[in-house]
């Protein structure tokens, strides 16, 4: 997993609440058996008109936000299904961080598994960011070690991340590898609960 320590990037604003995973990556694109290549289908039904051309009205199709790496959204982002294809699509499209007042739980967890940072700010801070991001070329600078972000015009905010998740992101650690270090404890639990030994 690619580590996340600091990141500076262009902000794309998506002024919608309750953006669900069916919108982030519609079901017709869940049939791939790889983890990659989902970026082209991100927000597909919003991004493209029925004839397949980009919908000029859609937020991410604005020329000013091409190359954006930070997504700004309203509350309850990522609600709905557990599909990890949602963070895969966001990451493959180029996003490294998503900022919103609140996130749905499963989506929030799934981000960390993919080197992407979900940042919870207050409603007021998010409101302020939407105002600022209305101007062209709006950039933010995120520092995960400090738990802070700022822009070039005096905005600063801080955020918290679970210390374990934070460490895994900072070091790009493989969760499974870490957990397998506790195989003995797992075997002890299994024995205490009457399960036969694994491989025995």
């Amino acid at each position: 997993m690619e580590p996340f320590t600091t990141h500076s990037g262009l902000v794309a604003a998506l002024d919608r609440a309750n953006v669900d995973t069916d919108q982030i990556i519609p079901k017709q694109f869940l049939k791939r058996i790889e983890r990659t290549g989902f970026g082209q289908f991100l927000f597909f039904d919003w991004r493209f008109l029925p004839d397949g051309s980009p919908d000029p009205a859609f937020e991410l199709n604005q020329p000013a936000v091409q190359g954006a790496t930070i997504l700004l959204a309203r509350r309850n982002f990522g609600c709905g299904s557990s599909r990890e294809h949602a963070p895969w699509a966001l990451a493959d499209y180029g996003f490294r961080a998503v900022i919103a007042p609140t996130f749905a739980d499963i989506f929030f967890n799934n981000c960390f598994q993919n080197g992407m940072l979900p940042i919870r700010l207050t409603e007021a801070e998010v409101d302020e960011l939407f105002k600022r991001a209305a101007g062209p070329g709006y950039r933010l600078h995120i520092d995960l070690r400090e738990g802070t972000l700022h822009d070039d015009a005096g905005f600063t905010a801080s955020f918290t991340v679970d210390p374990f998740r934070r460490q895994c992101l900072l070091e790009g650690l493989d969760d499974i590898g870490l957990s397998l270090r506790h195989t003995d404890a797992i075997a002890v639990w299994e024995a205490a609960h009457g399960l036969p030994a694994v491989g025995g």
Partner: protein
């Protein structure tokens, strides 16, 4: 004396393997359910890392999302769907996982077959790469959906990294009025909590109303917990639960001993929840969603709300966007909304009890000429049971299509989809934009309400239905 504990506390405490310093707890997972859409990348990850499945016997797989619901003897037309199902087959073979394959008599929607086969049991931790895993909490288990990386983690370690969720008691007093179902109750609750009211919590449904529900109804309620943002919903096990499980394929051999353990699971008197909300069952009327999330719901006797009636700016703009997508205007009576399609199925409402309720409404009637209606049983077993009772003939005589088990038009990954602009009364759980097909418009209702709508061509209040 030890402090009183909730059902969640008891299951949680029993399953924490260890909490290494500076790390999240490792939670042991008793049962892992797998389907074809969210698992290929997890098995591939294991292969790349040279890892094996720690406890293949704790994992059960079935294809459900992509499967055709027409004749199973025919090859799957969509090559990509076929590849995903073939991949599941190959992975189960390679890693030694039990598979209820397409031709198997017990194949079905993963959340229908888990309880049906007795794989789901009280006190267990159960996960699946699917957000409606909450369904299994109806049996007194802690069951929740996970992402594909976590699927891989569970396959490799039989554990998950988890912080403990907060507990939220949803107490429902009294009894549901006639014609009002568990589906209406849960939609009513979601309408009040909002789609994120349950975020960070495990919902425990309690109270007289919940105790009086049968297992299928309890599963309907727990199933939709995720639509309020909660990853899990649970109901303490009782005699209803034990009677349901007795004699099922994977039920414990020494059943009475298991019951003695399960009887200790319900929350202790005085156990504290992080949050409590009380609902009165008598207040619930048959529900119909009008928007594009399950909290955008009203009673069948109400009107489509006007976006201007919402005070919160987000709610206002969501409502305006939703009405535009749904092709509805504020102020329109719900019973005047005309329908093109009716779908009875999904892990929310495809059990035998649901089909019986719908068939009772349909008996002696015909589907309205403007409507195309289908029934998709939740599993092979449900289908056989319904056919033994003659329900299939009630449906087909009325003009419904009677199909093979699967997720079908709940999410339309198979050929069962809505065309753009088509309007559907659906017993499923999500009315998101495009969920049942790009441009499709979904209204969530109970099986009885869906059946009555199929006959009438528009929504009707099931409380005044004339049963024949």
């Amino acid at each position: 004396m030890p402090a009183p504990r909730t059902l969640l506390d008891k299951i949680w405490d029993d399953h924490v393997v260890c909490t290494p310093p500076g790390e999240l707890p490792l939670l042991y997972i008793d049962r892992h359910l797998v389907h074809e859409v969210t698992s290929p990348q997890a098995f591939e990850g294991l292969r790349i890392a040279g890892r094996r499945v720690r406890r293949p016997e704790a994992t059960f797989a079935t294809p459900d999302h992509n499967v055709p619901t027409t004749d199973r003897r025919l090859p799957i037309a969509d090559p990509v769907s076929k590849q995903q199902i073939d991949t599941l087959r190959a992975n189960c073979r390679e890693f030694g996982v039990k598979l209820y394959d397409l031709g198997d008599a017990d194949q079905g929607i993963v959340h229908v077959i888990g309880p049906e086969l007795g794989i789901t049991q009280p006190g267990m931790t159960i996960v699946c790469g699917d957000s409606h895993t909450a369904t299994h909490g109806a049996l007194g288990a802690l069951a929740f959906g996970i992402g594909t990386s976590e699927v891989e983690h569970v396959l490799a370690t039989q554990t998950l990294r988890q912080g403990k969720p907060k507990s939220f008691e949803i107490r429902v007093t009294g009894r549901l009025p006639a014609g009002v179902t568990a589906k209406d109750l849960v939609l009513h609750i979601i309408g009040r909590l909002s789609t994120e009211g349950g975020t960070g919590y495990v919902l425990e449904y309690t109270g007289e109303c919940i105790r009086a529900l049968g297992m299928a109804e309890r599963m309907t309620v727990c199933n939709m917990s995720i639509e309020a943002g909660a990853r899990a919903g649970m109901i303490a096990p009782d005699a209803t639960t034990f009677d349901y499980l007795r004699g099922r394929d994977f039920a414990p051999r020494d059943f009475e001993r298991a019951v003695a353990v399960w009887e200790k699971l319900p929350s202790d008197p005085g156990a504290a929840y992080d949050r409590v909300e009380i609902f009165s069952a008598a207040d619930v009327v048959p529900q119909v969603t009008w928007g594009t999330n399950p909290a955008q719901v009203v009673g069948v006797d109400a009107r489509v709300p006007d976006p201007g009636s919402f005070t919160d700016v987000n709610d206002k703009s969501s409502a305006a966007r939703a009405l535009d997508y749904m092709g509805l205007a504020g102020g329109m009576p719900i019973v005047e909304i005309p329908l093109d399609r009716v779908f009875i199925g999904s892990c929310t409402n495809s059990r035998i009890e649901d089909l019986r309720a719908a068939a009772a409404v349909v008996r002696g009637y015909r589907v309205a000429p403007s409507v195309r209606a289908m029934v998709v049983p939740g599993s092979g077993r449900v289908k056989r049971e319904a056919e033994a009772e003659g329900l299939d003939r009630v449906f087909t005589a009325a003009g419904f299509e009677w199909r093979e088990a699967g997720c079908s038009m709940c999410l339309g990954m198979n050929p069962d989809t809505l065309a753009p602009g088509e309007r559907c009364a659906s017993t499923s759980n999500r009315n998101f934009e495009g969920r049942q097909g790009k441009g499709g418009r979904t209204h969530l209702v109970s099986p009885a309400m869906a059946a009555a709508a199929a006959v009438s061509g528009h929504f009707v209040d099931i409380r005044s239905w004339e049963y024949r």
